[in-house]
Amino acid sequence: MKKSFLAILFSLLGLVLLVSFIDNVPYFLITKQDVVFKKPKGFPKPFYDLEKNKSTPAGFMLGRKLFYDPILSKDNTVSCATCHQQFAGFAHTDHSFSHGVYGLFGKRNAPALQNLIWKDAFMVDGGVNHLDLQPIAPITNHVEMDETLISVLKKLQQNKEYVAMFNYAFNDSIITSDKFLKAISQFLSLLISADSRYDRYMRGKDTLSKSELNGLKLFKTNCSSCHKEPLFTDNSYRNNGIGINPVLKDSGRFLITRMPSDVMKFKVPSLRNIEVNYPYMHDGRFYSLKQVLNHYAKISASKNKADTVLKQGMQLNEQDKTDFIAFLKTLTDKTFLHDKRFMDPGAYVYLPEPVVKKEKKMPAIKDKSIIEKYKNEWDLVQLITIDGIPQYESYIDKLDAITQNIAKQIKNQPNTELENLRLKFIASKKHKEAIKNYMIFGQPVSKDEIIKSCEKQLKSTINEAVIINSQLKEPSKKGWMVIIKYKSGNVSLKEAAFDVKYNPIEKNYVVLNTNY
């Protein structure tokens, strides 16, 4: 009895592993599912019009690549991600001010990037009025990236991989400011944090400790009028009484509106992921939440013309402060901070954790020949190649048709085996789709072809060279390194003169520039 149970368990485990291996899609590949916008429960309607710039897998991948690429800065050293780190909720951990090009410092603390589509304005002074226009500010700021929009577009247009990606995302290989900024927005608009322990508690899916609950109560009485749930900001500008920094002399919102009433007002920031996006305040003057609490506990409206809602200060004992901070830490959204979709696509091989799909209980099938019929159909679908280019589009369409036929059959007569087959086929189809997404950027070549091309180039430049042996070494930044041995006994290292990439799914090499 025990043995048979174990056997069943192992075979089940085997099946799960099999499916998970088929499902081994590198993390940087984005599927349609990954870019679907789902409004979190309780969140208001976004300010950003997603209908005008809907994220697509290609657009999102392009936007993400741009976000992580220092090509956007004058000396190619600073990317958006330099000051907006995912593990810090896309703020800059432990930096009051961030370093820009040439090691220059800015005057303000890098804000967290999250739930941006619910913001009516950007920057701590609200100077930028649209998400699509926001990236222009850091790109052109002299102490941040110090570039011009024209120069960035020029650099991208000269980069073959970007041209291919723009072509893929927008069906047009001419890179314009419009497409460039829309691609970045397709990435930024999906940076949504709504799965912290607080969120799960509100949805009835998690519990909070006694201390955290007391913190929540204190928060509701003292803070929630400005840090309004569920976004934890009311998008207003307020003077919180910290006083002007005598060195920076940053008067905040006043610089935008020039209205005396706006002096020292700054945008109320969201408290989501507050635990990880320290230091705090517009100039990053406080490094701990306790410092922040102490400030608000002591504040009175008379001090530094602070907002009248702060006039009473807060009556907090030590336990209250501990509880308060415990609550603030429930706003840390680990799902968001570790979301693979938002990670740097620079490193390329990654195997995601196996996903175990839950099966519905269905009756067994009587006619086994149906299973065989679909298996045969599946096997008969061939990947056609035209001029060496695999035609994934029609291939996937045919596979898709089979899974849909199975789904129809299951609807009429539900059964477990057919459902298993369907799930297996879908995983396999997803795998092919991932390959297709990767393939769009280049054609596969063999190692031998790379070596031959290098030798050919060498022979044309050095007449006397007789090559006796060559071998491929690891990729360099520009291309691939080929070790070449001459008849004379000399050995030289030659760089392949074209961009070659490793395709981790099919485990072969892909040439981005086919004119070699």
């Binding site: 005008k52 920057m123 100077g127 930028v128 009025n129 649209h130 998400l131 699509d132 226009l133 222009i136 500010a137 790109i139 052109t140 700021n141 929009l149 024209i150 577009l153 314009t176 400011s177 419009d178 900024l181 829309k182 610089l255 935008i256 509106t257 020039r258 209205m259």
Partner: protein, 245 residues
């Protein structure tokens, strides 16, 4: 059955014909608008030396401005309007010629336009064409278009390189630098397909620096945000006039 078909086909033909005829009755034609930049009474030449009202010498290196919401006014009130924007740039002769393609025939009495970019186009995100932010007439740190740029040098200016720079924008309260310009034609202009209309407009850069406020290069060499923008905007309000033949 056949007769029903015939009736349907012939009625469709008549309808199509009627539509074609109705289009023909209100024919549309082109109107050319030519901007010519001046300094006082002389056509602007970059790097030529001019004098302002205070006798301070200056040269102009850059002169650009946005024109939008062009409206050709008719006596019967059936005005022609376009939502397009145009960036007139001294460095680009093509930019100084605007062609409106679909102006209905008729008698027009005046041309109206704004210098600047209206709030809608300042608030609705990415724009293309003349309003593409790559055109260098865009403030990234305080979203909005620069409506007019006048850059140059004057020995009277004490800033680095003796430069002066007037970059004027601001589309909302309290600083709104958009100015509406109305230029009345001396006599009604008839627009027809046989006699297309050409309007020639003079834009006087010297007017940016005077009336009502005379700009002293030594005191105000630079306006690059909304501070003092209203002063310059009130000056450029009267920089346009018609060059009637």
């Amino acid at each position: 059955m056949n007769s029903v078909k015939k009736i349907i086909i012939s009625s469709v033909c008549i309808a199509v014909l009627a539509v074609i005829l109705s289009f023909k009755s209100s024919q549309k034609t082109k109107v050319h608008i030519q901007f010519t930049n001046y300094v006082g009474n002389a056509i602007l030449e970059l790097d030529s030396t001019y004098k302002n009202e205070l006798g301070q010498a200056f040269t102009i290196a850059n002169f650009k401005y946005y024109i939008g919401n062009i409206c050709l006014k008719k006596i019967d009130g059936k005005n022609y309007t376009t939502q397009d924007y145009f960036l007139i740039n001294e460095h680009d002769d093509d930019s100084k010629q605007i062609t409106l393609n679909d102006v209905p025939e008729g008698n027009y009495t005046a041309i109206e336009f704004i210098i600047g970019v209206d709030s809608l186009h300042n608030c609705s995100g990415l724009q293309k064409g003349a309003l593409d932010p790559t055109n260098g007439m865009f403030w990234a740190w305080n979203t909005g278009y620069v409506f007019l740029k006048l850059d140059g040098q004057s020995p009277s200016s004490k800033s680095a390189g003796n430069i002066f720079e007037y970059h004027i924008g601001g589309y909302k309260k309290p600083i709104n630098s958009i100015r509406k310009i109305t230029l009345n034609f001396n006599s009604d202009k008839t627009v027809s397909s046989t006699t297309p209309l050409s309007v020639s407009i003079k834009a006087d850069a010297l007017e940016v620096l005077k009336t009502p406020t005379t700009i002293d290069f030594s005191k105000l060499p630079s306006v690059t945000d909304t501070r003092n923008a209203a002063t310059i905007a009130n000056n450029y309000m009267d920089m346009f006039s018609l060059l009637e033949k």
